[in-house]
Symmetry: C2
Subunit: 409 residues, 2 copies
């Protein structure tokens, strides 16, 4: 079950002026299941995004990048679950284009004004006919209040839908931000089997919108891992509809940019953490806080070595303070000149290790007490410099194996 993650409540999800959402059951992989989402945008809305760095990136990722780059004004996003349209070669590209064309026909725009997204099983042909047949129903039930249904429609192995809204006052104008995301396995930075859609009614120039989504992703989705697998389909899209009264944000140095960045980052961090809390089989939410590193690279190297270690993750699952496994992971992280005698390891506030070994003050029952919690912070103080970094991950349980050994069957 998800770790300290409540399902979103429809009443708490705020519409974003200029964004309508329509959902359908297109029977893509299973029947009687929401599996198709259309997000329609008002004229003048801007979209920017970040995408997976996987070389086997999915066909819709390639097409979405092309359509974004063509600069023709994006009018809709279309998302299907049940099939990733990845590892599908040239036919996959044609299928993604067909999906865009079908929706463009219904909305009266060009196919290049549609961004396609897919998530689900890899290396199987996209059932384009089913998607095309489902699109009219999605368009027919379009509405500004459909954010919860939209969050549910993009779920795959997720147990809980992920959605949140924030409002922030910038220059006396209320700005609204609402975001949804999906993902729970194949989760790794750059990015995750992760789809995320965040919309705001602020107005912001296209280059700044791109910079904002990249920065927000680095603070959030690029700081999480469940299993170290980088997906073929990861995409985070940021939509700015310009429907609020706030004047266009044009400078990164402006207070308005900083305020919007913080608010969007808050939404992105909530969604990223929600993905970890709903990590496949997760029973513990683990914050890994690195302090006193020379640079961000070494902080993240060590943090991810801890976060990816199956031995560390299974010890957390067992609530077993077998904390030497954390030291071993720090040691093999690849920081060649690391002085292990100089660092300190804490579990929440409990000092576990210093001077290259167990701290004299450490008592097993203190470690045991923290390990039994569902939210735990591992803190590594490197004493090498002034840089800090934080990552989030989860433990590794029987259910991770169960979920992933039976995903298709």
């Amino acid at each position: 079950m998800p770790v300290n993650l409540n399902p979103p409540v429809a009443a708490q999800l705020l519409p974003v002026a200029g964004v309508s959402l329509g959902i359908a059951e297109a029977n893509i992989k299973r029947e009687n299941r929401k599996d198709l989402l259309v997000i329609q945008l008002c004229e003048g809305a801007r979209v920017a995004g970040v995408f997976t760095k996987n070389r086997f990136c999915a066909a819709p990722v390639i097409v979405a990048k092309e359509h974004l780059a063509s600069g023709g004004g994006i009018r809709a996003l279309v998302v299907n679950t049940g099939n990733a349209n990845a590892g599908t070669g040239k036919q996959g590209l044609l299928d993604a284009q067909s999906t865009c064309a079908a929706l463009a026909g219904l909305l009266g725009c060009r196919a290049a004004q549609i961004l396609p997204f897919s998530t689900g099983v890899i290396m199987e042909p996209l059932p384009v006919a089913k998607i095309a047949a489902g699109l009219p129903a999605a368009v027919a039930n379009m509405g500004e209040d459909n954010w919860l249904s939209a969050a549910e429609a993009i779920m795959t192995t997720d147990i809980v839908a992920k959605a949140i809204s924030r409002q922030v006052v910038i220059d006396n104008v209320i700005v609204t931000i609402t975001g949804i995301a999906k993902g729970s396995g194949m989760i790794h930075p750059n990015m995750a089997t992760m789809l995320g859609y965040i919309a705001t009614d602020a107005c912001i120039s296209q280059p700044l919108l791109q910079e904002l989504v990249s920065t927000a992703a680095n603070r959030s989705f690029n700081c999480i891992t469940v299993d170290g697998d980088t997906s073929t389909n990861d995409s985070l899209m940021l939509i700015a509809t310009a429907k609020s009264a706030l004047p266009e944000i044009r400078e990164t140095g402006s207070d308005a940019y900083a305020a919007l960045l913080d608010a969007v980052s808050d939404v992105a961090i909530y969604l990223a953490q929600a993905i970890v809390r709903d990590g496949e089989g997760a029973t513990k939410f683990i914050t890994i806080r690195m302090e006193g590193g020379r640079d961000e690279d070494e902080c993240k190297k060590i943090g991810y070595a801890i976060a990816h270690s199956p031995l560390v993750k299974t010890a957390f699952f067992a609530s077993d303070p077998n904390l030497g496994r954390i030291l071993a992971a720090i040691g093999y992280a690849g920081v060649d000149d690391l002085d292990v005698a100089a660092l300190r390891l804490y579990l929440d506030e409990v000092l576990v290790a210093e001077n290259g070994g167990r701290a004299a003050s450490y008592a097993e029952e203190d470690g045991q007490r923290v390990m039994r919690q569902s939210d735990i912070t591992i803190r590594v103080v490197l004493n090498r410099g002034g840089v800090n970094a934080t990552l989030w991950t989860c433990d590794f349980s029987y259910d991770y194996v169960k979920i992933n050994a039976s995903y298709r069957s």
Copy 2:
């Protein structure tokens, strides 16, 4: 259960002249269990080795390296299970030294002529008194025929003991090689929670012995992974007693060197594969064969991305030909200019993917048939160059989680 791995038979393990082995039950972690091994060497025997690259390397690793470097003629090795003496700071170094001193007293040599090794739980103090109390019994039952008992004495979570002998005729002289190893979790190149001891009665110069063990390790133990965790204690030692009639090998270009290298590599590969076959929770033995890479680095990068992917490993556990997961792993391996449309993926002889997607000839039942086997080869033909590389790994099952969530309790 181990995958196609038979327990060694005592009668098939050949003594190596100049090497005696003594075993004791020292109650280090549990009672009534062989947990202490002494390997005594004849005067003039040479020893070389390779060690973990973990920055948190264990105290015995530091001490063994020092003693090897001191060049005083190694007379014995002492190995305990039940405690790794790692993450134990300065006291750990003192404890490893005390162990050497205790054995040196019994054997009438200097402490610097003893190499200490430990394996087991990390970050707990080594029970030196128990080890010292157990040493006389180990010395008392010393014998040349104790290789099987020795292999059993160094097991921790291993299910099956790992030992093998080979004989090879070099320049009309029969040369004998016998090796033992332990390890099944925290297994990763450079190296594994892996202890390996290989002895030969050949005579070889000290620099060549070092080169030979490094080369043999790169062909064997540095090509395996179970869970990606690099241990604090990994050590592979190669002993040459010079008791055979073969003249000293002094040139890497000689036929004798090549023959000995091949024979030692055979033993090392058998032991390395045995560790994977006995990998924690393993139900499948997977050979990952990379062909047509530009260099070994990119071959291994891609191979390890596949080998470490929990999604790939759980699919193999389920015998589910969800082979898109292999494509995804290839795609995120970090080879930035990889042309995914140029590569071909095979499962044994079955062509699975080409041209960036599923092969037209691929039928699910063919993939399913191969996935049901216990020994499977994943072959990736990169079509980028002339370099090949082979790795070995295992699948990821409920039992991996079970073993590692209950190791200490």
